[in-house]
Amino acid sequence: MSTVERAAPPAPPRRRSSRSRQRLGYLPYLLPGLIAFTVVILIPFAMNIWYSLHKWKGGNAPLRWYGLGNYTDLLADEQFWTSFRNSIAMILAMVVVPTLLGLLLATTLFDVLGKRFGPRVASVLRATYYLPQILPVAVAGVLWNWILNSQTGAVNVLLREIGVANPPNWLGSTDTALPTVMLVLIWIQIGYPVVIFMSALQRVDPELYEAAELDGAGWWHRFRAITIPQIKPETFVITLTCTVAALKVFGPIYVLTRGGPESSTLVPSYYSYLNFFDKSKVGYGAAIANVLTVLIILVAVVIMVLQARSARREEAGR
């Protein structure tokens, strides 16, 4: 803790003591936040770790000590591994595809449409892409659940109309459920990188492009040599926030498939919820949630370290 303070330039002793007394005066302002944080986040988190070391049916049932048993059980649990494998699919659908597609759309809007058809066209299109982002995700999910319903859903009614005898049971069959959920997630997610990348592109100094143009660099060359490095901070932010969101995803799974069929769309957060409230295996659910937490923090730290390193390299290169 004190390392942070030591970094400050040394001050004469009298001033220093008066300043630290002054700093103490600010503590009352921090107190409500710290107390609330402790009660709502730290204590429940600690309790969750405690639960995960027990077998417990929840409520008034007795807690039975189980040590690390829940965690070793997880290792042998096929569904647990399925849920984390599906997390990779979630990352593909919520991070990789939206970021690449979002970058493509943002540069198209900014570079071509904004300049050739006017900023209004670009901003209307941007707002359209962003629309699914503002909806409660559960509401969007309920809508898609109906659209994709095998019997009465819009897609299959339409397919039957044009003569497809046996349209797929999109969300109800093990072959199609995961890809279908992924498509819905891409639809939900795409607007976020578009908006952030567009504001990033506005930040880039146009003189850089002019200089490159004078050197005869083509569009693709400029895109790779100027745009990509310049918007790196935003790319990191998108990667970080979307990866965390993809690992945590719950709402869309709950309203679209409830993890089914046959666990083909099961994700860790839903699996933990299932154990807490459906199977009454509270200790086991707590263990899943803890593993998920460790994974999220690991991934977040890795991304933040990469970001810091890339920023430092840039600083050194200058």
Partner: protein
């Protein structure tokens, strides 16, 4: 800007640069010959068509929803999802409205989100004042802790919180959700605001202290007015984030009377009453409030998303 340059190879670039007498902003839109072919010819229309196609794909589900919210079930099974309704059918809307008691859900959502937004911002401001202006010891650790807390999956907190709420008599009570989200949102707000307040002009603070203003007065008469724009962005963000929350309200609010709009809609899934028009009408009225906020706060929001990204 004549087209012939298109056919010339790299010679076009210096040509544009030497092109005299242009307005100062022009270079931005000047392009190399490669681009020019790309942008000026027919291909720019293809690009536009592609971008519009994506927009149409984004909008199709909404269009289908609106069309079928007002279409009778018989009409739907006969003419399919893409037809214009034969007659305006409002039973689906009425069914949904009455079944979930929509006005009550609307009030619940507004009450929970509004209270969280206000409390969350006040709590963020107080903490950030101590961390950013007061430079309390160990602030880096506290801010990092808050930031990490924001990344926690809610599953890791929900069962203990559920137990605690029952013990203090807040089970199925909206206050449990309000308290939880106030803290979760304030964790992010504190992180954001303390970096904003960390760069607060010291001259203003010194002037205030020379005038004999204490910490409390400095906060409200010097700091608050300066950061008010940021606070208003935070209020809107907290409101919308809380509005869209699903997991914790789903667990904590167990009866119809306390539920928020997304939870009420989702819990009707699979209900026999939910035929096509009712489902669509339900989705439609459930998303209208979100769309209204978006239209009202669009400018603030896009500015805020950007601010959040670079921070």
């Amino acid at each position: 800007m004549a087209t012939p340059i298109e056919t010339l190879p790299a010679a076009g670039a210096p040509g544009t640069a030497l092109d005299g007498g242009r307005p100062p902003r022009a270079p931005r839109t000047r392009a190399t010959d490669v681009d020019r072919r790309h942008r000026r010819g027919a291909s720019r229309w293809f690009v536009l068509a592609g971008a519009v196609l994506v927009a149409v794909i984004m909008l199709v589900p909404f269009a289908i929803m609106v069309l079928n919210a007002f279409k009778a079930p018989a009409d739907y099974s006969q003419n399919g999802p893409l037809s214009w309704p034969v007659s305006l059918y409002t039973d689906g809307l009425v069914n949904f409205w009455e079944r979930v008691n929509f006005p009550e859900k609307l009030v619940n959502s507004i009450w929970i989100s509004g209270t969280v937004a206000v409390f969350g911002v006040v709590l963020s401001l107080l903490s950030a004042y101590a961390l950013g202006v007061g430079r309390v010891r160990g602030r880096m650790w506290i801010v990092t802790l808050f930031l990490l807390a924001n990344m926690l999956p809610q599953e890791v907190l929900v069962y203990p919180l559920f137990q605690m709420a029952q013990e203090v008599g807040l089970s199925n009570n909206q206050w449990s959700v309000i308290i939880i989200f106030t803290v979760i949102q304030a964790a992010f707000g504190t992180y954001l605001l303390s970096s904003v307040l960390g760069t607060f002009p010291p001259a203003l603070l010194e002037a205030a202290s020379l005038d004999g203003a204490g910490r409390w007065r400095t906060l409200w008469s010097i700091v608050y007015p300066v950061v008010r724009p940021t606070l208003s962005v935070l209020v809107i963000f907290f409101f919308i984030w809380t509005w869209n929350e699903f997991f914790i309200p789903l667990v904590m609010l167990t009866t119809n009377a306390t539920q928020t709009i997304p939870v009420a809609l989702a819990s009707l899934q699979g209900d026999r009453m939910m035929d096509a028009p009712t489902t669509n009408a339900g989705a439609l009225v459930s998303m209208i409030p979100a769309i209204v906020f978006f239209l009202i706060f669009q400018r603030t929001l896009t500015r805020g998303i950007t601010a959040g990204a670079v921070k």
